[in-house]
């Protein structure tokens, strides 16, 4: 699992690549720190290369969302596979996030 973050058009753009399982969650949380310190910038989570997510990963997504929303900004998800989208639907996460 690999997370890279760049600033692009005034937004924080994060590319999530690999399997976000419980074993990968602690390292991913560290790599996501710039998203928790977003200073009011919108965040884009690019999930084109995200192969899998478990509740440990959902917890990180929700943590980023809470932190970004508290600063009045938005979190957009792009490129999510049908299987992962299904997990989002099951847990009510589809209604929490904005999709691009």
């Amino acid at each position: 699992m690999n997370t890279t973050i760049k600033e692009q058009n005034g937004e924080l753009y994060a590319v999530l690549d690999g399997r976000l399982d419980t074993a990968a969650a602690a390292q991913t949380e560290k790599e996501m720190q710039p998203l928790f310190n977003s200073e009011g910038k919108n965040v884009v989570l690019d999930c084109n290369a995200l192969q899998y997510i478990s509740s440990s990963g959902l917890r990180l997504f929700l943590g980023v969302l809470k932190s970004v929303k508290a600063k009045g900004a938005h979190v957009y998800i792009t490129g999510m596979s049908d299987d992962i989208r299904n997990v989002f639907a099951m847990t009510g996460f589809t209604n929490l996030f904005e999709f691009r």
Binding site: D21, T22, Y52, S54, R59, V87, T91, N95, L96
Partner: protein, 140 residues
Amino acid sequence: MNTIEKHSLTLPNNVEFIPQLATFIEEVTESYGIDPSVTMSINLALEEAVVNVMNYAYPEGTLGEIDISVTFSDGSITFTIKDTGTPFDPTKVSNPDTSLSAEERPIGGLGIYLVRELMDEVSYCYENNHNILTLKKKIQ
């Protein structure tokens, strides 16, 4: 069907071993010709159930094992997860409220819920000092 007759895996109570569980499940589901979407559902349910045991069954700092075994019959795949930790029935855990807003939503509490949503049958018993959780999914 291939020639593997017994599928089983034993892991220590350490979440760093979850990728081994994923590899094991992929080998099993591939041997039964189960499609990738169903495999992902099975993988997710098993990860959640096993992580729950890894994190909570044994007192912090003590070593413990989790045994996972698989059987296939009548078009269903059945996983049995056993541990010798503190008795705990995950089927008694209440479901989270998935209709809450982002602000109201608590962080966590989704693992057991996902197990129930993703599998067709989830049952628990405590026998001979073992927690035994059985997860069944219809394939055909």
